[in-house]
């Protein structure tokens, strides 16, 4: 296959180096920008859209572990999203009236980790028998899983109320009454917040996004992440480098599923409603598109890709309101965008190679401190000794 060699551009080189060097500042500026948005923008629709973008960022970063890090095609991610949402919905619905110790399971802060665990549990249960399959076969099984979850939700009326869905009465609360001994100095009442409306959820989701990005970055630069990359690049070579392929694929699947579960539980509390309509197979494809558009495996890329696709949906919805037929066919626009991307930028908006090329300054200092005589990494100069 012919590979087009990109024209060398000084500015492009400069940009790519500065981007990978300054990824911390990129995240920092993004953090400040997003954190203060609710202070400047009072339009609730805009806030709502940004919150939605952030929810999808959690989902897309969670999915990214499978096709981006481990190199498997997962079409059933929405199944874990649904499992997370229904963990929240069924717990609050069935235990809503209960008083006593069980009522703790209607607490948002307890449900969120439970949803993650539940997602991971089903991820492992699905992964152990099916991860032996490779390529397209595996993708088909995951597709089946998504449909299976949807069918179970529709048919198990006693648990999920089927197509009617579950209305969530519970609001997340933050009870800081136990801090009263400290807070009474500046506030006379015990601190207790009930979250309702978009702004509190904006901050809850923002907080979870930050944690997700940190976790993903740490995974990427760890032994675990490298094992995934090895599996993605060449399974046989990975095996012969001592990596237990099955084990690491199942771990990837469980972690990815738990992020789907977390996002699902937040979604259920935020929209106060969980129904099988929200977890159609289409949603899986949409999240996968976000990952592919941004650049598989590249964390800033996935964030950008998600932002572009989700906000594009909303933009199209607003601007094309007079022509409903065009609004309904907005997915055609997505398709066109992806085709154009595959033609001109097949590695995504921010390709992985651009992000990961540079060695971090920490690594440089470690190598430098190892043995001054043996290799000066910063100048690229060889200082080889004959005795080694």
């Amino acid at each position: 296959m012919l590979k087009r060699i990109p024209r060398y551009s000084f500015y492009r080189e400069k940009l790519s180096v500065s981007f990978s060097h300054n990824i911390k500042y990129f995240y920092g500026v993004l953090f400040l920008l997003v954190f203060f948005i609710p202070f400047f923008i009072s339009n609730l629709y805009v806030i709502h859209t940004i919150t939605l973008v952030m929810l999808y960022i959690i989902l897309a970063l969670g999915l990214n572990i499978i096709p981006g890090f481990t190199g498997l095609l997962d079409l059933g991610y929405v199944g874990f999203y649904a499992i997370g949402a229904y963990t929240a919905a069924t717990l609050t619905y069935h235990l809503g009236e209960v008083v006593g110790p069980l009522s703790i399971f209607t607490n948002f802060w307890i449900i969120m980790p439970l949803a993650a665990l539940n997602g991971a549990f089903w991820g492992i249960l699905l992964g152990v028998p099916t991860l032996r399959l490779t390529g397209d076969y595996f993708a088909i099984v995951t597709f089946g899983f998504a449909s299976l979850v949807e069918l179970i939700i529709i048919n198990e009326m006693w648990l999920t109320r089927g197509p009617m869905g579950i209305v969530m009465e519970h609001k997340p609360t933050l009870n800081l009454a136990f801090l009263y001994p400290i807070t009474h100095h500046f506030y006379s009442e015990p601190l207790k917040f009930a979250f309702k409306g978009d702004i509190p959820f904006f901050y809850i989701i923002f907080f979870v996004v930050i944690i997700t990005v940190i976790v993903m970055n740490r995974l990427e630069n760890s032994r675990l992440g490298r094992a995934w990359f090895a599996i993605r690049e060449d399974e046989i070579a990975a095996e012969c480098s001592g990596i237990n392929i099955m084990k690491y694929k199942v771990i990837a699947f469980a972690i990815s599923a738990s992020f789907g579960g977390i996002a699902g539980s937040i979604f259920a509390f935020w929209f106060k409603f969980a129904s099988p309509e929200s977890f159609k197979f289409w949603e899986s494809i949409l999240i996968l598109c976000m990952v592919v558009l941004g650049g598989m495996g590249s964390i800033p890329g996935v964030i950008l890709g998600t932002t572009v696709l989700v906000s594009l949906t909303e933009v199209i919805r607003v601007f094309l309101e007079p022509w409903p037929i065009l609004v309904q066919s907005r997915f055609l626009v997505f398709g066109a965008i992806l085709i154009i991307m595959m033609r001109f930028k097949p590695a995504g908006l921010i390709p992985l190679s651009r992000v990961k090329r540079e060695m971090s300054s920490r690594d440089k200092s470690i190598i430098g401190a190892m043995d001054g005589s043996f290799y000066d990494i910063t100048s690229g100069e060889k200082k080889l000794n004959s005795d080694r």
């Binding site: 094992a227 690049e233 060449d234 046989i236 090329r357 290799y375």
Partner: protein, 264 residues
């Protein structure tokens, strides 16, 4: 080097692919500290033996035993066959005939992955960045750099593996395999496609690997390389062993001459 202990014993190994007999009742030992060459015409079953030793294919019959200073392991026997990752962990590393690198990763990361069986921090360590995890990462980095320097690739440590020249890709593969700290190192046609200068450097590298105390088992077609570096040679033809001995002896063995040149 005259160590008498066997590090690897292959006992009546047979491998069938359908009706094709790839390896037919082959037995030989690899002695600790030697460089043993496995030679033979194409299709003689050399790579199949490598695949059986590293667990990539399952022998139809026979035993493979690994003995590292009294630590014995049955790689393949009547009851069970170890998985490739377990075999790497007990100290057998290999390279491939058609180079298998992690193409989109940097050289440093390629070799860091080789440290996998010699480190153990997993999910919790990665997320919490505990002190012990940081120390382990530091060790991984240090030893990875050491192996990169050992094969002489330190000039392009942050280069993407697929951008390397062919000879350098070979050396990177060797560095990655060495990073798993093997006791027995299998090289599958390391000199294929190399020019005489690169071949010379490769022979030097193989000798240095042996001097680290690693036993080397090598498949090679380049007879100059084989005769120069080997302590002992095993010759295969059509899946059968036809000769086994030091280079001078094998060179003059009538069966070997017949296999390579034919008879009139």
């Amino acid at each position: 080097m005259t160590a008498e202990k066997e590090i690897l014993s292959i006992k009546s190994l047979t491998k069938l692919y359908g009706g094709v007999v790839a390896v037919n009742n082959v037995s030989f030992d690899v002695k600790e500290g030697e460089i043993l060459s496995l030679i033979g015409p194409n299709g003689a079953g050399k790579t199949t033996i490598f695949n059986c030793i590293t667990g990539l294919s399952r022998p139809t019959n026979g035993e493979i035993l690994f003995n590292d200073n009294g630590k014995k392991a049955e790689i393949s026997g009547k009851k069970k066959t170890l998985k490739p990752d377990a075999i790497t962990s007990i100290g057998i590393a290999r390279t491939f005939q058609n180079i298998r690198l992690f193409n989109n990763l940097t050289i440093l990361n390629n070799v860091k992955i080789g440290r996998h069986p010699r480190s153990k921090k997993n999910f919790a360590g990665a997320i919490l960045r505990t002190r012990s995890q940081k120390n382990e990462e530091k060790d991984i980095l240090k030893s990875a750099v050491r192996y990169i320097v050992f094969v002489g690739l330190e000039g392009s440590i942050m280069e993407i593996a697929s951008n390397l020249a062919y000879g350098d890709q070979r050396r990177l593969e060797i560095a990655r395999a060495l990073a798993t700290e093997p006791k027995l190192f299998l090289l599958d046609e390391p000199a294929a496609g190399m020019n005489p200068k690169e071949t010379g450097e490769l022979m030097e590298l193989i000798r240095r690997i042996r001097d680290m105390g690693i036993t080397v088992l090598v498949i090679e077609h380049d007879m100059k390389v084989v005769m120069e570096i080997s302590d002992r040679i095993v010759v295969l033809e059509y899946g059968k062993k036809i000769a086994d001995g030091p280079p001078e002896e094998v060179k003059n063995d009538p069966a070997v001459v017949k296999a390579y040149l034919g008879t009139d």
